[in-house]
Symmetry: C2
Subunit: 356 residues, 2 copies
DNA sequence: ACCCCGAGCCGAAACGTTTCGGGTGGAGTA
DNA sequence: TACTCCACCCGAAACGTTTCGGCTCGGGGT
């Protein structure tokens, strides 16, 4: 192992000066700096992280702590996430590591150990929940942390988030524009901030159109196929009037939904219009649906760079408000929306007076 | 952050003695040790890993370095692996981290940085290939590493492996015992040591029975459904004689195989007998097949503990030969093997004299 | 001639831990 | 009494780095 001392001996310089040359300080002549750099690469000098950390308090390592399988990323996608973050961090001269916490152990304790042990400089935190204890703990200790998603209420924190309210607004407005009035919303878990944000946008769009929000049409559950399937049955097998359109908060929900609708003999978009939000993480593709799904979309892999960037800046001392970024979402119209039935030439039956 | 100095002040003891008490040295009275332990837990003392590492050369962190998605663990299973290892290591007071290497970068360089930076004490290495450069590098530098699987040839290394030759032997013998003589073997990539070991066991069993090994019946490819499907077509759609039994090196191969056989109108086990090896990692279950598959099995999750254990011992100074463990495999007979067609009451046709 | 200033360099302290080589005091032995 | 021995304890050095304060040297201004 080459150390600074080795280099300084080799170059007839003081350890101090070698260190300063390597770290880009001003008071070292260009000639010296060049010599030092050459020697460093020749001797394959690698700064000792432990020593550096000991004195400077920085290890250059950031991490992601997981306890149990994160809901959003089943399958291969998980490696995509880790790989994406890892690549972005190494681009910024930071090491990124994943730590799986023992499910038995209090995760706060894990963070404490990791921090006090002097190991990690900062954290990426995914899938925050309301009143997230981890965020609270890290904020209180002043440890740099950037959250993928956002917490409302609780301590201020750095985050990268997409404009979830806009997701709700855009999707709802699109359906309204096509004449839909009874719109169901298959949303994610109410525990999660993004679900609430999307609901808010949804309600706003309804209000713009002078329509009331019907809580009975807003169903929250974990974002999986089951949610879509179960909700389809709930919404469309009961007594009329049924919704004429459905918003799915995730492609997986949409998938369960179309399966359910198909089993109930309902066609998309003739009988029911569907829109969804697409994070482009799952192996489902909006274009793989029949018909292709009209969606808002914001590729989750667009978030690695801002997350890494944000955490790097945080560690470098940036104030929290400077590291809060909300990304816009795209809207892509495909073939899963049509005008509702009752807007089109009405079928003859059921034609007796409706005096309401 | 509580330091040793804080504790020593608090207790009116020297830093030395506190350290020794905490680390279980003999020359500290039980009374003192108890006091120290109490104070440590009261003040939430956490040894500073960087400082410890700096002087002792140990960080207590071990890692797994991955470059690209490992072939064997698609899907959720990946987290199972990481989680399993992580849990076992933390049980042994070691932190386990995952590092995803930039696919662009030489992975050796990544190891070098990790080691010279003073970060990691040792590594788990999965999916070794023949003449694995990583193993060679780590061995040459004397860095503790335990391999999941085994390399033949190359430097000696610590490993945990299953008895793959036995897999080949047991599976082949079982088929032989049922009267099969033309046995195909859908094996894994020839790059991988386990494939070769299984082939060896296979050949041995054949030789025991006085049968020659037919290279035309041994097909190697990556262990996925495609392999099974493609090989099924290759083996059973060409000119007779076809094999009467097939060994699949993985449940995924078996799955592709049964799909292919079914498409070709062949039934298991009436027309073709199948056996496979089951690592119990994939979401496929041997009992989920129709008929249930006769398999050798060695749950991959049985390997976390021995791997963690081995690496821990290696770091503690155990010699490499003491950390080489080959685990036995189980054999479970289910319903996918029958006697071959020509051993059963022969159909009438094709009955003219065969004088050979 | 004097002082000042900046460029370039250096010594030493500090970070928190482990560990080596002692030290002290009291009990046991001759 | 004088010695040894053991149980228990301590000071100081070391690990490799960063950083604070200060040093020297030569050139410019007055």
């Amino acid at each position: 192992m080459t150390t600074l001392k080795d280099l300084s001996r080799h170059l007839n310089l003081s350890v101090t000066q070698v260190s300063r040359a390597l770290n880009g300080y001003a008071d070292v002549s260009e000639a010296t700096r060049a010599r030092v750099l050459a020697a460093a690469s020749e001797l394959a000098y690698q700064p000792n992280l432990s020593a550096r950390k000991l004195v400077s308090g920085r290890s250059g390592i950031v991490g992601l702590v997981l306890q149990g399988t994160p809901a959003s990323m089943t399958g291969d996608h998980f490696l995509t996430v880790i790989g994406g973050l890892s690549a972005e961090f190494s681009r910024r001269e930071l090491q990124f590591v994943l730590h799986m916490a023992d499910p038995e152990e209090d995760v706060i304790e894990v963070y404490r150990r990791l921090i006090d042990g002097g190991g990690l400089d900062g954290f990426v935190l995914i899938e925050p929940v309301t009143d997230d204890r981890r965020v609270a703990y890290l904020a209180q200790r002043g440890i740099p942390v950037i959250v993928h998603g956002r917490l409302f209420g609780g301590p201020a924190h750095a985050y990268y988030d997409i404009d979830n309210a806009e997701v709700g607004r855009v999707l709802t407005r699109h359906l309204l524009r096509h004449g839909h009035r009874r719109i169901a919303f298959l949303n994610g878990s109410p525990q999660r901030a993004y679900s609430e944000a999307r609901r808010r946008g949804h309600v706003e769009a309804l209000e713009e159109a002078g329509l009331p929000f019907d809580p009975g049409l807003h169903i929250t559950a974990s974002m999986d196929e089951k949610h879509g399937l179960v909700s389809a049955v709930k919404l469309f097998s009961g007594p009329a009037p049924h919704p004429t359109a459905v918003i799915a908060s995730h492609l997986k929900i949409a998938r369960g939904l179309v399966q359910g609708l198909s089993a109930l003999g309902l066609r998309v978009p003739d009988d029911v219009s569907i829109v969804a939000h697409d994070d482009q993480l799952s192996d489902l593709a909006a274009t793989g649906f029949e018909p292709p799904l009209t969606t808002t979309t914001s590729p989750i892999y667009d978030s690695w760079a801002p997350l890494a960037d944000g955490l790097a800046r945080l560690i470098a001392g940036a104030p929290i408000p400077a590291v809060q970024h909300t990304a816009a979402v795209d809207f892509v119209e495909r073939g899963s929306v049509a005008a509702p039935r009752n807007e089109r030439p009405a079928p003859r039956k059921n034609h007796h007076g409706d005096t309401r």
